[in-house]
Symmetry: none
Subunit: 538 residues, 2 copies
């Protein structure tokens, strides 16, 4: 029988302490929903007592349904004060969460140096704060900060701290290796001793300063911990928190524990990549389990062995974590995705075997150039419909021109767009906040006379990512645009070494997709044009 | 008394199997010299039987002096042949190396599936090949490929393989976790058993597929292994090899082993960054010990504690590995971050209490607008130096203009820049791959006549992030630019609703920072301009 381990995700709280990680309330909400789908048990959303973004996040999740427990984070009450009047603790209660984590000191050195109070007052701070949460019906998770360092310096005090939290009613006692300096052997021994001394549910929270956060988490679990705290992709302060993307499959596939279950495990790679997109943080290509190169084979001997039996150079089947094998010499991946996508669109791929082969080659070529269709469903659909001859070209771009000028504090951006619809040529110009906005405005202006519904569309997201970082400002960029018309949301992609051209490509795809999907074209276009475009209902 | 562990670096061989890692013979030579300075004991240069680059490398190192043993890599002889006639083994002998690694199969499944020969022939291949090296006076290191998987499936055969290598005279028997799927506990137990059974010097070679390569290496050493094989920055196939940049300090500072010695350890960060430059591979910002964020502090509570005693949130003193503490300025932090940053720059904040308050308010205001200084040290430094009146304005931007035009497949981007240095006005125009690249080229062109060293600078990263996504193409964007002049790397930030303006801001800051830090201005500027700029040494 497998033992259940509770997965506590702190991507939205401790993860945002990582350099370069900054999430809006909107980003946080998207990530929380994705984590909930993955099946983690706790989602720590932030500190409702610290900043407006976190307050907004907790406000917005209030009315929503999650399987995971949305958790707030805070510290024990201030020294020489009362929990009932502690602004930060009150905010936690107000946020309406079912569970909260309170961090408290368990290293005597920190009590003296950082808190600058007495060991007794620290114990009272912990007891009062946990008890306050419990009185308010909130599940209380106590994060014993610097527990391992504290235990090594003053085991008696460190254990007393845990005891106090337990007496106050803490549901979980989480042992933190806050500075990330402890080794797996030490972690194992100390957790085992704690487990013998304290009657409580024990958790583990580690950092990666010695590149041992995953090993330390496993060591703690093997010594009896039943909750593991970590972040997606190991985001976090300094060298990061323990990486749940490695811990979860290690526990599920390599050891006798259950976490999110093997079915959900297949969402792991998708989740990791989605969150890295939202956080705008590149994933290391060789990230274990979920990285793009995690199952990529380069060496000739390896490749020929892999072709005989993939077990020869793969420790698990990549599909178990939703990843895939890549053979760098003969790319075989992707085919099944393309086929299933075409089927989804009702395209008859069996009747078009040559066409299917052709379109797969085309997509591979585009991916090689830096396109990514995972986040650009609409561009993918346009590509497939084109390949199967199921799409009329609605408009052609003849040319565009952009002028950006700065003098003193004034900044002007203008775009001139020339497109052709049927046999009409439309020439428009528009201003914008910036060059891409000017292009968006000009293109919209030229299309709206034919397709008034374009008025309802707005672009809801715009992302730029440098693909080949070495080239810096001369590098290729990938632009992802998300558009919405209230009912639907779709994403398109463009790639170029010119950010304007890449944006233009994604922009044009977005409008093409929108027009394609307008169920009824309430058109002001001349009958002539409409007929040529095949838009007339006969 | 500490136990000595032999450090075997395979960055130049196994490291080059990593996706995106490709080294010329020249690159390899530079890296070998750097590794020798660091004090590793073996430098595996490549496979002299495999390609011209490696042959050239071994040719060129022949006449050079190294403290480390330059090591060649190869496989055991082909099946059903003779070692003396094996082209690959002969090449190793010809390369004149003092030591060589031979990889051989120790998992019966691989003997059958990949080699497609008998278990007996595999033993003969190993014995013959090792004996051949020894007869030629070469130190023989036997890499038992897939040893742990082999041992788990057929311990008897796996041990027989080791025994055979030992009988043939192997100086080291290295146990490889080739697929990276083994856990620390298993590694520990198996190495201990091997150590009891085989009278030999045992080594360990691990891969990072479970994010456990470092832990596995330590576990093997604690069970009796005395050599560790790995790569700088963990380069290698799939998820990479064991990272020596983490293993070495863990052994030296955390456990009772000696490797390169604590003095040389201070070269670790410099070595890691140098090799990442040569390999043209970005280092993860949070890489343990040697990463740019390994000792970077963002949380306000952390920063205020660090100021009291850095031990509160640092597991070692960063200087021990040649790294340094950094305080990141961000919305999560408060006053203490800014103060410590100013102190780091030698600015007298105590004498300027009002100014400190002012500058903190200014930074908060900028962060509210969307600036983010935690990833833009150089912009932060410029801001602080300006606020404290410690900076002359080097050049002023009068205006710039950009034209982007697309007709058919042609795309043209031009920039016109007008700046003022002292009383000289410089007007330049340049083309580029895109508008930002054109601006970069134009600005560089106008500055280079005054500051020729600008030639050495290149932009190493360019990131764009939409801050307020609701606005989409009219939204604000934040541009982060990373620049490098080989010795140093710095980052700058720009924010605007116009991606061109934001890029321009970050670009201008990057050049301002570079000029500020040019210790000696080898200037072609007229004396007049130089005097006005305060660049003349009086």
């Amino acid at each position: 029988m497998t033992t259940a381990i509770s997965i506590f995700d702190t991507t939205l709280r401790d993860g945002t302490q990582g350099e370069g990680i900054s999430l809006s309330a909107d980003d946080k909400l998207k990530i929380a929903l994705k984590l909930d789908e993955l099946g983690v048990h706790y989602i720590e959303g932030g500190n409702p007592g610290s900043n407006n973004k976190d307050i907004e996040f907790f406000e917005r999740v209030k009315g929503m349904k999650f399987n995971a427990k949305i958790t707030a984070f805070g510290s024990t009450r201030r020294k020489n004060s009362v929990a009932e009047q502690d602004a930060s603790l009150l905010r936690i209660v107000e946020s309406g969460v079912p569970a909260a984590t309170l961090v408290g000191k368990s290293w005597d050195f920190h009590v003296h140096t950082a808190l600058q109070t007495t060991l007794e007052e620290n114990l009272a701070m912990i007891f009062d704060s946990i008890a306050f949460l419990k009185r308010n019906g909130i599940e209380a998770i106590f994060d014993a900060e610097h527990f391992f360092d504290g235990y090594k310096h003053n085991p008696e005090y460190a254990l007393t701290v845990l005891q106090k939290a337990r007496e106050a009613g803490a549901d979980w006692i989480v042992l933190c290796d806050t500075n990330g300096g402890t080794l797996p052997g030490e972690i194992h021994d100390i957790v085992r001793r704690v487990n013998n001394e304290i009657k409580a549910n024990i958790g583990i929270h580690t950092h990666n300063d010695c590149e041992l956060a995953v090993a330390n988490s496993l060591a703690a679990i093997q010594a009896g911990a039943r909750q593991v705290q970590g972040t997606i992709n190991g985001y976090g302060e300094r060298c990061g928190n323990a990486n749940l993307c490695s811990i979860i499959p290690n526990l599920e596939l390599k050891l006798d524990y259950s976490t999110i279950g093997v079915d959900k495990l297949q969402q792991l790679t998708g989740t990791a990549r989605y969150i890295s997109e939202i956080a705008n943080a590149n994933m290391p290509v060789g990230q274990p389990y979920v990285g793009n190169a995690a199952f990529a084979h380069k060496g000739g001997i390896h490749v020929s062995a892999i072709l005989k039996d993939s077990k020869t150079y793969e420790h698990i089947r990549p599909e178990l974590v939703g990843n895939k094998q890549r053979v760098l010499v003969s790319e075989l991946a992707g085919q099944s995705n393309v086929i299933s996508k075409a089927q989804e669109l009702g395209l008859d791929i069996n009747a078009n075997n040559n066409k299917t082969r052709e379109i797969i080659d085309r997509i591979k070529e585009l991916e090689h150039q830096g396109y990514q269709f995972e986040g650009a469903d609409a561009s993918m659909e346009l590509l497939l419909r084109e390949a199967f001859g199921e799409m009329e070209e609605i408009f052609q771009v003849e040319s565009f021109k952009i002028l950006v000028e700065k003098t003193n504090a004034d900044m002007v951006s203008e775009a001139i767009v020339k497109i052709r619809l049927g046999d009409e040529t439309v020439y428009t110009a528009a201003e914008g906040n910036g060059p891409v906005n000017a292009l968006d405005n000009a293109l919209r202006k030229s299309l709206i006379q034919f397709f008034p519904k374009i008025n309802d569309i707005h672009l809801s997201d715009y992302k730029v990512r440098v693909i080949d970082e070495q080239g810096a400002t001369a590098a290729k960029v990938r632009v992802l645009i998300e558009s919405t018309d209230f009912d639907n949301t779709w994403s398109t992609v463009g790639v170029s070494s010119n950010v304007i051209e890449a944006s233009w490509e994604a922009l044009v795809d977005s409008f093409r997709y929108a027009i394609l999907n307008m169920s009824k074209v309430e058109s002001n276009a001349s009958e002539n044009v409409r007929e040529q475009l095949g838009l007339v209902n006969h």
